[in-house]
């Protein structure tokens, strides 16, 4: 797990992906977007726990993770008032429109298909953190 280095005032982001290399890449992109990675976890259960403990501004979730999938985490977060306000960006290797639709109906704010470009992810993170009270 990457050790987050919080910088005061920056947006707080939770990253969850079971692939270490991808997770590191997502963390890099999040930092490039000027945000703090407050937690970086490899599965759904840890993501849910971290989200409840840390209450991040944004959660970047991989869809296919062991334990709970990104979709389940997403639905779970939306179901509880304490975590319902967290913005959610889903990442998935499946690029079919069907999956996009399922992701968005589970309550995600945005959906990005793998393989994503770092620039695209940075752009998406920036867009989602606009308007979040710092």
């Amino acid at each position: 797990m990457d050790s987050p280095l919080p910088s005061p005032g920056a947006f707080r982001v939770l990253v969850a992906d079971d692939e270490d290399d991808i997770r590191a890449l997502v963390c890099l992109a999040v930092r490039k977007a000027g945000c703090d990675v407050i937690a970086s976890v490899p599965d759904g259960a840890l993501a849910l726990a971290a989200a409840r403990d840390e209450l991040p501004d944004l959660a970047v979730l991989d869809v296919s993770m062991p334990g709970s999938t990104g979709l389940e985490v997403c639905a779970e977060l939306r179901a509880h008032p304490g975590t319902a306000g967290i913005r959610i960006l889903l990442l998935s290797a499946g690029a079919s429109l069907d999956e996009v639709a399922r992701g968005l109906s589970a309550g995600a704010d945005a959906y990005l298909a793998k393989p994503f470009t770092v620039a695209g992810l940075v752009h998406q993170v920036k867009a989602l953190t606009v308007g979040v009270p710092a």
Partner: protein, 594 residues
């Protein structure tokens, strides 16, 4: 299907013989009375009851009469008039001699036999012969008067006797003629009866043959149906009651024929929930209607249904439903021919899962490769040397190629499994073409191929999936560029046209033709050999020109393009000449012009 075996025992031929009385008749009308008469006469003569005055004459007469009688027996079947008249005349001569030899009037009784024989002759000629003969016999005393002691026959007797003989003979003759006519009628009727019997018998034979043929046909049908053990063949009445149940059905559903036929309904072997859903979807009033509705409307219907076997196990079965008619062509029920697809469908699902898994597993490392490459190449703090940039560009290009291949494989698997869906919206084909041109621009420029775009300035909008149509168009354009040598040209065209019912495309609107959009990609490349054009849309097929010229690719692009076009209700056609070039044309339906 009614398979009652039509069989019955062969009809017993009718062998009854009608009594034939012709023999008896021939005897009665011929020699019998004279035989009786002469036999009695001979007995009386020999016993001495009748006195003999001139023995040689009497015995000669008797011998002549008996000989003629014997002759009559021999000639009784003969049609000879000479025999029929001559022999009684000979008998009469014998009677005359007897009369002369005995001088006894009682001998005259012997006239009856020959007279009878003459009277019963076919023609009336016998009657005057009998009269003349009797007269001649009566005149014997006048000729040999001394024997009779000078007693001359009574003139009255001479006058009356012929009359009596004539009347008697005529009566006998007429009576006999009538009898003969009746006998003829009877014979004719017998012949007619025999002919009728013969007809009945041959009709019975025909029926017998027909029923044997029918039985043989039914037997053939039954044996064919029984020979099918890998597929279920189930025939039902209109209400779904099972009438035909073959060994394949026994094997698939675990019940023997006697336990099912006329006792169970086809619905007993279907999953009820599935039928309920089908009924709801199609608006069919009953579960059976849901099962046979399409077959009833269009003559046949093939689709997967879930059969429930006797032990409760469920089988996925591809069932072909067809209506069944009876021998008069009246709708009598339904046929269900089922192929067990349980294993096949499971394999297909496994293949799908495998392809999904593999493509996911390939995509993940490719995501890493591309992501980190991007970081390295775009790092402003540590700019790359030109050489490093060139190397990494090659890595990136190949990673992208792998990624496309994975995407194509996944997409092909989706198309095959029918999980490929479209997200329809209004799509401007002109924009699609411009986007494809932009994508191919760099590689075309590198290859020295000129791309010309000819699309309507105001665009042409179809209903479709923008992403998929773009993918299809990209495939066609990138193929065209790949297969066109330097200096060649690729022309992209979009235009409106009309398609007639026979699928020919015309430029002007005309009755029966529907509006279509044509998207053509024409190149001046190496072309496709005519013999290979049919296989072009097969997965992983690569033309000999592609292989010979080492054009890269795996042979999925056209399969995908064709699938996308078909899913849009359109068609993909090509015209190609080796060494001259190829034109692919997508024909897509357009909404009717209002």
């Amino acid at each position: 299907m009614s398979l009652a075996v039509l069989d019955r025992p062969a009809t017993e031929p009718i062998r009854r013989r009608l009594p034939d009385d012709r023999t008896w008749q021939a005897a009665a009308s011929g020699p019998v009375p004279s035989t009786v008469g002469f036999a009695a006469g001979a007995a009386l003569l020999l016993l001495g009851v009748v006195p003999v005055v001139d023995a040689p004459l009497a015995y000669a007469g008797l011998t002549a009469a008996l000989a003629a009688t014997a002759g009559a027996w021999f000639a009784r079947r003969s049609a000879s008039t000479v025999a029929a008249l001559g022999l009684p005349i000979a008998q009469l001569a014998g009677v005359a001699a007897l009369y002369a030899g005995t001088a006894s009037a009682s001998v005259l009784l012997l006239l009856a036999g020959p007279s009878w024989a003459l009277a019963t002759h076919r023609t009336r000629a016998g009657v005057p012969v009998a009269v003349a003969g009797a007269q001649a016999v009566l005149l014997v005393p006048a000729v040999v008067g001394d024997t009779f002691g000078g007693a001359a026959p009574l003139p009255a007797a001479l006058a009356l006797a012929p009359l009596v003989v004539a009347v008697g003979s005529l009566a006998v003759h007429e009576n006999h003629r009538r009898l003969r006519a009746q006998a003829g009628d009877i014979t004719r009727l017998q012949r007619e009866q025999a002919a009728l019997l013969e007809q009945v018998r041959s009709r019975a034979d025909e029926l017998d043959t027909a029923s044997r043929i029918l039985a043989a046909r039914a037997q053939t049908m039954t044996s064919v149906i029984d020979a099918v053990t890998q597929q279920s063949i189930i025939g039902t009445d209109r209400d779904g009651t099972i009438r035909v149940w073959n060994p394949g059905a026994e094997r698939m559903l675990g019940l023997l024929r006697p336990d099912v036929v006329r006792k169970r309904s086809i619905l007993d072997f279907h999953q009820p929930e599935e039928l309920a859903v089908a009924a709801e979807t199609s608006g069919a009033p009953t579960p059976l209607a849901a099962l046979v509705q399409v077959a009833g409307e269009s003559g046949s219907d093939v689709r997967d249904w879930t059969y429930v076997a006797a032990d409760g196990t469920e089988r996925t079965v591809s069932v072909a439903v067809t209506p069944r008619s009876d021998d008069r062509g009246v709708h009598a029920g339904w046929n269900f021919v089922g192929t067990d697809m349980t294993e096949t469908r499971a394999t297909e699902r496994m293949k799908d899962q495998f392809v999904s898994l593999i493509s996911h597993e390939l995509r993940t490392p490719l995501s890493s490769i591309l992501g980190y490459l991007e970081l390295v190449m775009d790092d402003e703090d540590q700019p790359l040397t030109d050489e490093q940039r060139q190397y990494l560009s090659t890595v990136e290009r190949n990673a992208q190629r792998l990624l496309r291949l994975v995407g194509d494989l996944l997409f092909t698997a989706q198309v095959e499994s029918g999980r490929f869906t479209l997200q329809p919206a209004d799509v401007d084909l002109a924009a699609v073409v411009w986007a494809a041109e932009e994508t191919a621009r760099v590689s075309a420029a590198n290859a020295g191929v000129d791309i010309v775009v000819d699309v309507p300035a105001d665009g042409l909008v179809v209903s479709g999936d923008a992403v998929r149509l773009g993918q299809a168009c990209d495939n066609l354009v990138s193929n065209a560029v790949k297969f066109t040598p330097g200096g060649g040209q690729v022309r992209l065209t979009v235009r409106r046209a009309w398609q007639a019912e026979d699928r020919t495309v015309v430029d002007a609107e005309r009755p029966g033709a529907v509006p279509v959009a044509l998207l053509s990609v024409a190149d001046t490349g190496m072309g496709i050999p005519a013999g290979e054009q049919g296989e072009l849309f097969t997965r992983f097929f690569r033309s000999s020109t592609a292989r010979r010229n080492a054009v890269p690719g795996v042979g999925l692009g056209l399969t995908i393009t064709k699938a996308i076009t078909t899913a849009h209700g359109g068609s993909l056609d090509l015209v190609s000449a080796e060494g001259e070039g190829t034109t692919f044309t997508m024909t897509l339906p357009l909404p009717a012009v209002s």
